[in-house]
């Protein structure tokens, strides 16, 4: 488990949301407009803030109007707040670290109102602000290695960032030797993977590049396949075997170099002698192959976010797909998935399932296993997807 809890305020549809005790695999359901997409956008947004700066992350999310489009409607005078609590290994010790980011706008310019990284020095006591910045200025502890010795005085240095909309963990995270928590957290964000898979971008001839992981859009699919074929052959063979079992007709999957130095996928149907180039293969075939590349990755991402993986896939495949996600999480990656598929839910343990619901216009997040009636029904034999379809993921029904 990496992320333990999330608290989000004024970010798009999420006016005030808290999720505690996040499991290794979390699956979110909810009606259209309930805030699932906003929840997943938090991850992409933070990653963007880190890669560039807050202003460009706001523009990427909200267009030209940036902050005003991203902040919850009616709350533009308040700050957008994102608080993440996570377990991190710092100097050989696992720490429960809290990262808090709050963003406001003034005179049309977004700025970081506050950015804090805090954790406890010893087993007891209040958490210590290891990093504390606002508007591009702040302090950071420099003798982090003496954190364990509460009697030792900590020394702080004053730092100024290039601009008030730059994250301190970006500026300081670069000096990994000196600022361990900041750089560890920075790495975590850099390596979390928000899948935004587009079949159209995964199809066709692609550049031949060095690629170990599937990209967010899936546009490096042939290069990842080639990497697995050349360096992780048993995994590649296992993926092709799964394709054979799951997609009728698929006999072989190959990566083919093109005359002009690119790569493209070739799928061979047992019934035909000539293979299909991937342009002529169904969306579902490509999607299943992409998921297998993503989920059988020998080095799981620390955090993987996938929205509605069921699209384009046959309902019968949902069970195996859900199990791929379960296994990915068991191999160490923390996984966040949203779905509209009852079949997908049926394959999952109750405590991985959350639903988003609007109450008086505000999104709240509920965990299925928190409700006795749902637990009892599940224990009697009702699978989670059936309970969802029968309307049990509804706090009005459960709390009266």
């Amino acid at each position: 488990m990496i992320i333990e809890s999330l608290r989000i305020k004024n970010f798009k549809a999420l006016q005030n949301v808290v999720i505690n005790n996040l499991p290794q695999l979390s699956v979110f359901v909810g009606r259209n407009g309930s805030g699932k997409t906003s929840l997943f956008k938090v991850f992409a947004f933070l990653k963007n803030c880190l890669r560039n700066n807050v202003r460009s992350a706001l523009n990427a999310e909200g267009g030209r109007m940036g902050f005003r489009e991203v902040v919850t409607r009616g709350h533009s005078e308040e700050a957008i707040e994102i608080e993440i609590q996570f377990r991190l290994e710092i100097e050989g010790k696992w720490r429960l670290v809290t990262y808090l980011l709050s963003i406001r706008e003034e005179n049309g310019r977004p700025y970081v109102e506050r950015e804090i990284l805090r954790y406890k020095r010893g087993r007891y006591g209040a958490p210590y602000h290891y990093l504390d910045f606002s508007s591009g200025k702040g302090q950071v502890v420099t003798n982090e290695e003496e954190f364990d010795e509460p009697e030792k005085e900590l020394t702080r240095t004053f730092q100024e960032l290039d601009a008030p909309d730059i994250l301190a963990i970006k500026g300081l995270g670069l000096f990994g030797q000196q600022f361990k928590a900041a750089s560890a957290f920075r790495k975590l964000i850099e390596n979390w993977h928000v899948s935004d898979f587009h079949i159209s971008e995964a199809r066709g001839k692609k550049e031949d590049e060095e690629a170990y992981h599937l990209s967010s859009s899936g546009d490096n699919l042939p290069s990842v396949a080639r990497h697995l074929y050349e360096n992780e052959r048993p995994i590649f063979d296992r993926i092709v075997e799964k394709m054979r079992q799951r997609v009728p007709g698929v006999e072989r999957v190959d990566v083919e170099p093109t005359a002009d130095g690119g790569l493209m996928m070739r799928y061979t149907d047992g019934a035909f002698t000539e293979p299909f180039i991937d342009r002529n293969v169904s969306d579902g075939t490509i999607k299943m192959f992409a998921y297998l590349l993503l989920l059988d990755d020998p080095k799981p991402f620390p955090i993987l976010c996938v929205e509605e993986p069921e699209n384009q896939l046959y309902p019968e495949l949902m069970y195996v797909l859900a199990e791929e996600f379960i296994q990915y999480a068991e191999r160490g990656g923390q996984v966040f998935v949203s779905t509209h598929s009852p079949e997908f839910l049926n394959a999952l343990p109750l405590d991985t399932i959350f639903w988003l619901e609007k109450k008086d216009g505000v999104t709240c997040v509920n965990r299925a296993s928190d409700y006795e009636l749902i637990r009892n029904l599940n224990a009697e034999g009702d699978p989670p997807g059936a309970l969802w379809q029968q309307g049990f993921f509804n706090t009005q029904r459960l709390e009266n």
């Binding site: 009892n376 029904l377 224990a379 009702d382 379809q389 029968q390 309307g391 009005q396 029904r397 009266n400």
Partner: protein, 187 residues
């Protein structure tokens, strides 16, 4: 009084109840006073009954189970459902077999159908013989589709139910549903 849980064969029954129940219990709020649990057909309903009656342990809760007869043996069907719900005292469970299909209940109220679909050409004063006892119709759903010109079962059920006059329905199975429910709720 505890809540009334309706275990239903399919979503169109839930849609019908949303029109019918407010006429009997104007103060009832769905999910607070009553709950509709639609299923994906008869076998899904039958598999679900035992789980629901066993898992639900809030005080005073009562169950209504509705299933189409579909020209089967009504007595045997009822006995089977009773058996599935046997973990509860019989006084807490009302079992009603809809004869023969949900649509018979609507055909029992031609005025309601006319109010929604002004195309039936049937005057309530001069009802064709086959609609006088709608519970006897073997193909009520088909007849209703012809009268209304639509196969959209759920929205059809929803709009007709809102127009229904509960005391003037020609369907016997509808009448015993209403009286059974009133008895269950009164206890």
């Amino acid at each position: 009084m505890g809540r009334v849980i309706f275990l239903l064969e399919e979503p169109s029954m839930a849609a019908a109840l949303r029109g019918i129940l407010p006429k009997i219990y104007p103060n009832w709020v769905e999910n607070v006073d009553w709950i509709a649990i639609p299923h994906g057909g008869k076998s899904d309903l039958e598999n679900s009954i035992r789980r629901k009656v066993r898992a639900w342990n809030e005080p005073g809760v009562r169950f209504v189970i509705l299933r189409d007869n579909d020209c089967g043996d009504c007595i045997a069907r009822k006995a089977r459902l009773r058996d599935l719900a046997s973990d509860r005292d019989a006084s807490e469970v009302l079992i009603r077999i809809v004869c023969q299909e949900l649509e018979s209940w609507f055909l029992g109220d031609l005025a309601a159908i006319n109010a929604v679909y002004n195309r039936t050409g049937i005057s309530p004063d001069n009802i064709p013989a086959k609609f006088r006892d709608p519970d006897k119709l073997a193909n009520a759903a088909k007849e209703l589709a012809q009268l209304t010109g639509t196969n959209a079962k759920v929205s059809r059920a929803e709009s007709i139910a809102q127009e229904m006059n509960l005391s003037a329905n020609r369907s016997k199975s509808f009448q015993v549903f209403v009286s059974g429910l009133q008895r269950l709720v009164r206890v």
